[in-house]
């Protein structure tokens, strides 16, 4: 163990500089995040994630945000285990009929003020699954959405650029 740790220390960090903040995301958020809420939250946001029908591709890239290259937590953004601790709800997938209730309950369990980020093409508008009998549609068909990060799946850099906008508004 010591060898691995020393080597890691000597090599220096792999962590990369952040991508420029996504302009469209900034514009989208400016409408939903007011200054008072901004002041209350400071530069720290807790994120709760719900997979409402994803193929798991978006989850893989959300996981990658915590690896050494992207290191999400350095920006004050962190994933938390309970909606009761969260300021932001990230949602992936077309919302399935079977997950609608669980998604609503998770949202309702979060304290105000709170924001919803739809992640991936399916969450944006149902994507490939739009119109299917087993899905309700995109996240916006169930919850008020403040920010959408598209992609199938969005890359960790795209995710980072979008999520950082939450701190810059």
């Amino acid at each position: 163990m010591r060898k691995t740790m020393i080597e890691s220390l000597l090599r220096g960090p792999l962590t990369e500089p952040p991508p420029p903040v996504d302009d469209t995301a900034l514009a989208e958020l400016a409408a939903s995040v007011n200054n008072a809420a901004r002041a209350r939250l400071g530069r720290s946001l807790s994120i709760r994630h719900v997979d409402a029908g994803s193929c798991n591709g978006c989850e893989l890239e959300l996981h990658a945000l915590s690896n050494a290259f992207y290191d999400l937590e350095r920006f004050g953004l962190r994933f938390v285990a309970s909606p009761r601790h969260a300021d932001v709800l990230t949602v992936t997938g077309p919302v399935t009929v079977n997950m609608r209730e669980a998604l609503l309950r998770t949202y309702e369990a979060m304290p105000d003020p709170k924001w919803v980020v739809a992640i991936g093409g399916c969450a944006a508008d149902g994507g490939l699954f739009a119109g299917g009998a087993a899905v309700v549609g995109g996240v916006k068909d169930v919850l008020p959405v403040d920010l959408t990060i598209r992609g199938c799946p969005p890359s960790p850099r795209q995710l980072l650029a979008g999520l950082l906008a939450l701190l810059k508004v």
Binding site: M5, C55, E59, A81, A102, A134
Partner: protein
Amino acid sequence: MMPTQTNLKVDGWLEAVDRLAAGRLTLLSLWADAPDVKMALLDETSGAVSIVGYHCRNGQYPSVGVKHPPAIRLERAIRDLHKLEAIGASDTRPWIKHTPAPYAFLPADGEALHQIAVGPVHAGIIEPGHFRFTANGEFLVRLEARLGYVHRGIEASMAGAPLDKAAMFAARASGDSTVAYGIAFALAAETALGIAAPPRAVFLRALMAELERLANHFGDIGAICNDASFSLMHAQCGILRELTLRAANDCFGHRLMMDIAVPGGVARDIAADGAAALRVLLAEVRRVFPQLIELYDNTASLQDRTVTTGIVKPEYARQFGAGGFVVRASARGVDARRLPGYAPYGDLRFDVPVLTAGDVNARVWIRIREVEQSLTLVEQIIAALPQGDLRIDLPVRGGEGLALTEAFRGDVLVWLRVGEDGRVARCHLRDASWFQWPLLETAVEGNIVADFPLCNKSFNCSYAGHDL
């Protein structure tokens, strides 16, 4: 491949069920092609795959699950989605389609038992599913999973779609296995149309499949250790996973290599500097990975969590006819790349590692050994990559095809019937998870509640691939 197909009357169907129950045949899948039900069967001694069909009368067919439990959930799914009833079935609860009525979890009787309900929303960034534990203090006496939360209606959406669009649905059955699904769907479609992808495409598909296996195994090995609170392995394996995905992106323009294996071949060629990027990746993995194996093997506190935890009994692995590292850690040496086998793996050298302990540790070790095999496969494929076309045009005609590919977690089955208009008439996808989820329920029995995440992660079953 197009296996022999037989339509059976009641007697023949029941005889096939008896042979399954006696272990002489392995159930590859059971699905509805209304008004018929079909089973894909594997004879493991000869390697022969066959399909048997039964024409339902009044929407009914004789239950397979009543004698052969691995079919129970498949029958429940058929009932939910196709309204065909398995006569004599012991379990008639809904499975994929959820109803407002309370779900009757299976009982456990005994003194001082309590239930723990978890999900569908979990604490981590994972897929949704519900686990109902019955425990006595710390010890689990029963686990029952309830799935179906991420049912998106993939098979229904594929019906009537042109093949290229249907391939996109298949590629999103389970995002972590998008390459394996893409290849399986492409192979089934090519069989149905009586064509074969060009050799270069066949090799590029295998290259992507091995990169996908590497990325997932790195992720899994790290995540299993993380569930034993050993974050150093998680961080180090996370680096290897990221490097693999970046190399995949350099080669194919997409980190998960989605929508590249398509019917007729591949949608794009490997980038000009792709082979060079892969050689850099291989060198880095070969430099770092042995140290990580040593770290895993020499950390007593970690071994204490993984050794003898969550044992899958070989007889269950065999009975369920399951695939993947879950059963290869329990003495069952199956791998779809070998049996029934598909190109180009017949031209490549690789071992199928098998262990017998059946615990979390063995499942980690199978992955470690498979990483080593995939590294040599990537190397062999780059060296042998044929020149030539990437994709051939698809003729417009009907037909049927079946394909099995080996995803990182086990075998993916695709059965496809193409209509005369060249569109999908019916497509059935069966993830390895269908036969692995029930094994997880057996593996956690007698373990402590706190070891469930470890057991679950060492299986890493798919929810999306199962729920479709």
